[in-house]
Symmetry: C3
Subunit: 447 residues, 3 copies
Amino acid sequence: MKLSKSLLVGTAALLSPTFALAQEAGVNPSTDTVFILNSLLFLVGGFLVFFMAAGFAMLEGGLVRSKNVTMQMTKNVGLFSLATIFYYLIGYNLMYPLGTWAMGSDETGGYLSGVWGPGILEAVGITAEGADDYSYATTGSDFFFQLMFCAATASIVSGALAERIKLWPFLIFTIILTSIIYPIQASWKWGGGFLDSQFGFLDFAGSTVVHSVGGWAALVGAIILGPRLGKYKDGKVVPIMGSNLQMATLGTFILWLGWFGFNGGSQLAMGSIGDVADVSRIFANTNAAAAGGAIVALILTQVLYKKPDLTMVLNGALAGLVSITAEPLTPGLGMATIIGGVGGVIVVFAVPFLDKLKIDDVVGAIPVHLFAGIWGTMAVLLTNPDATFMGQLMSIIIVGVFVVVTSAVVWLILKGVMGIRVSEEAEITGLDGAELGMEAYPEFTKS
Amino acid sequence: MKLSKSLLVGTAALLSPTFALAQEAGVNPSTDTVFILNSLLFLVGGFLVFFMAAGFAMLEGGLVRSKNVTMQMTKNVGLFSLATIFYYLIGYNLMYPLGTWAMGSDETGGYLSGVWGPGILEAVGITAEGADDYSYATTGSDFFFQLMFCAATASIVSGALAERIKLWPFLIFTIILTSIIYPIQASWKWGGGFLDSQFGFLDFAGSTVVHSVGGWAALVGAIILGPRLGKYKDGKVVPIMGSNLQMATLGTFILWLGWFGFNGGSQLAMGSIGDVADVSRIFANTNAAAAGGAIVALILTQVLYKKPDLTMVLNGALAGLVSITAEPLTPGLGMATIIGGVGGVIVVFAVPFLDKLKIDDVVGAIPVHLFAGIWGTMAVLLTNPDATFMGQLMSIIIVGVFVVVTSAVVWLILKGVMGIRVSEEAEITGLDGAELGMEAYPEFTKS
Amino acid sequence: MKLSKSLLVGTAALLSPTFALAQEAGVNPSTDTVFILNSLLFLVGGFLVFFMAAGFAMLEGGLVRSKNVTMQMTKNVGLFSLATIFYYLIGYNLMYPLGTWAMGSDETGGYLSGVWGPGILEAVGITAEGADDYSYATTGSDFFFQLMFCAATASIVSGALAERIKLWPFLIFTIILTSIIYPIQASWKWGGGFLDSQFGFLDFAGSTVVHSVGGWAALVGAIILGPRLGKYKDGKVVPIMGSNLQMATLGTFILWLGWFGFNGGSQLAMGSIGDVADVSRIFANTNAAAAGGAIVALILTQVLYKKPDLTMVLNGALAGLVSITAEPLTPGLGMATIIGGVGGVIVVFAVPFLDKLKIDDVVGAIPVHLFAGIWGTMAVLLTNPDATFMGQLMSIIIVGVFVVVTSAVVWLILKGVMGIRVSEEAEITGLDGAELGMEAYPEFTKS
């Protein structure tokens, strides 16, 4: 039933005036189809990135001690829900302040009216004329997809600060992060702001815009919060083992799965041959980078410690994913594997490095999301000739300074006003018993 | 590569007779493409709703005691499998008894032949003429999608009756529910029956047709079955803690994910701009309602009990999802959040309310699916002017009476014929040891 | 907005020369749209099959003892990552050695240059002319999809050999399997080789090409490796219980979910009515077969042992899925249920049969993937008139002999060179403590 190319070419000679149009119709997708396929990419990509919220929760829950698992679950469900509400209320329209990319088609109405306020979806049953941007995708699918990136940023923070931060200050920080900090800096690149227009900054799916932002906020939080009791004792690092490594593995696989949506959806279009081929490249490269990070961490921990370390392997895969996120399109499969592999190296060396600085990052979020995020952002230079060294570096620094300063202000205000750390007693008892009165595994944990 | 609108308009003047047709071809998706995209919506929506079977299993397994987890897993795999078989054998064609919506295109053949019997898929490699309904979607994708709704209804029941019901009577009830009770009442609305045609009943994705039906069946079952031993003692409610709250959280996230397919797929079409924009609205609204339910439950339990309650937060998210299910399209994001939030309120107050009545619902299925289902069905009135108060209310009542009566008859027959409750001894030992001889966590559970 | 068929027919008489072309445009998808939809099928199918890696890990982790869970997780993440790297480096182009199906459109460039070497994706932003095969799908999506099948083959092996095989020999075997053994035999069928062209072998999604291959490699490995200590004692089989049946259930559900991509994606096209209807049939049939396998195992274990056996039910569902994989398209729903049900019978009888032979298959991978794979391959004869008894049987035997011989050689070399089995002491202590120094559940396991 398909039109063969040769048939079309053969017919072309016969039907000259109408052919130009008919050929377009016969070869290219219709304009509506393009719009539908772009929107579909966001919906599928969006639900995959949504599922990363579960991935983060499982990873973090598996890497904390069982006495803090209920709290970690509460934080993860809470932060995602608050991100949903506050990105809608404030963040979405703050992120695209000038409507640079969406105002083109419809300057008067739609979700980007130039007026700051809550996100507004298109009307029910729109036609092409009613679409906010008929050349792009539905506003609903765009909002859904963008929201998930904002929420992911907050998820990164929760792991690093686990086992000692109070619930409500953490959730208040989440609100500020998702409604103000993340959207403002994201607008600099993805809202058509100065990093995009003046620095030529390239960050395809957010090694810097998402991952390093979460990483910086986590780093500042971890420093202000201080390490867990007993983590650093007499100049030595005391390993604190996670309660459930099968869950941590599941979380990693879910994150890996979600990353196909994260990077693939960031192509922002699927309605042409070039776009779908690019999305396909991205899927294959994303997977390759994760594999590279995992295998490098496996081999390195075998060589360095004589025993492969599963938590390093899991974080290696995640670091590989973060590393490829700034440029999942232009590398070939081999280069993608290498870029991800370097992420694995970073994790293996950065985790003990942070411990030397007595910065206690419970799940390894800072090496994975911040350090590999920086690496990934610079690695764009390896394969994308449009990237400039200074453009990438300055953007990393500008975003970093902004997030460090704003996060520090928020953390310090929270510390001053309500305190951010649970009592020593509560930390020893476990946050589940002390703060929530509900154990995650009441029948399992050895007394 | 896209056709710009202006190009088409410019060419239009030149080619008047052929243009009308060519413009259609250039702007709109081809008729085959519409059919393909609609079917794709059902396939993607269907696999997401399928995964809800895993979500229910993880949620329920996490909320029962470890001595009953193997049984809960067996029930969940068993009920889904039986739903698959009996919806095929009986339910699917019972649900569309007159073939009201599908007979239009092909009255003689196809899956809706007007003759009661097993579901029959279209032939291999059909053409447009061979399709059962070329204006809609493939029968296979429709069957796959509808089956998952039927199975979800049965999953709702299994949680409420956990930890004391016998395996086989439960599975026999599942057979009756999925082959007879669910399809008959679903036909009243979705098969074009009297609730649809005479009452103007609106229930987009099934707050009543799916969730309240599962909820009513669970309620009747819980009353007839009686509470677990030791749950209500000397006029007091004895809390029985779930064995694995991380699993319960995972189950909630999986259900949340699946709900995008549940509600989004219920648009039943994705082949036009209006349809894909509507699906997009639904995704965003569904997510907003879940967030609303979770946050309201979080805040309410903090205020009421001074300690946030994770199980309430999880059920709050689910109640938010059920609440938006009757109308996920017409609300804006803010209203969707509020409608979901009310679901969270319902859960926080209904769980202790049921305990006062000594109705023992192990996982909170009745508040989540029945009470929030009723609320969601009435909440259609808030945003959809086509809904009438009496149409919604009467439909809720009619469906409720039908399910209560038929479920009660089935439960009572099962009770009389084979008994539905395990022995006291088995309940104390745990169903895994007593009935199955296989522990879910043989190495973990404290003796 | 859709073109009705009658409108087109009515207009046809008026516009005879241009109509033929315009009608195609109005009814059929454009050629680009076909290419996009085919690629989309591979991307969605591919991420679903990717998730099966998590399913295998959860299933296997749940069925081993807690002292070996960290190792099982390490193996599963490791094998998937190595499969990714080596299928790219060697396997992909080895599998399509003559470029039989892809060289048609572009003989000079592209990924199938006839030269053995790493897989090469299409350039960024290709046009129709730049596509390796414009009549099919993007190379990236094809690679992504095919890779997941190769990785699944390796996942099958890891479960059978759990709890006693050393990490590195296992991973080295994985490399040989995914870069050499799997691709060579897959080329015989899917690369257009002699099983396809001379034997008329039919294996839609790989009951033989994927599942039996993993099963044969597992069988040979299990025999050479020998049973776990204490499994067969004084002529009796000592049951060794899995540590986490809820996880095993989750793994099964994830595999079930992934199978929609596995079988549905193997239609290899979604750009026509016939193709999308076939994909729909496949989804519905795949689900039916799983249900059949689960229910038959449930009933059989009830009848034979008086106690339903959850692990048999889970493996029954998986055996049902394997059974339908060779031909998920041509059966009707009833026949699909029966074909899957026979898979359930096979599992229930083959598990104790292997134990009689003292072949210790920890998770039941050999009955599920090898025995049900053979059954499924022969069951093609029931519904597909193009299959021949000898073509199916000879292909099973040829593939089996090839995999048995090559696997045995590799296992024996590994055994001779570095040893494949951990020490008795390590096996008793558990691989996690002895080999990795990291427990999966440090707080749960009873000492």
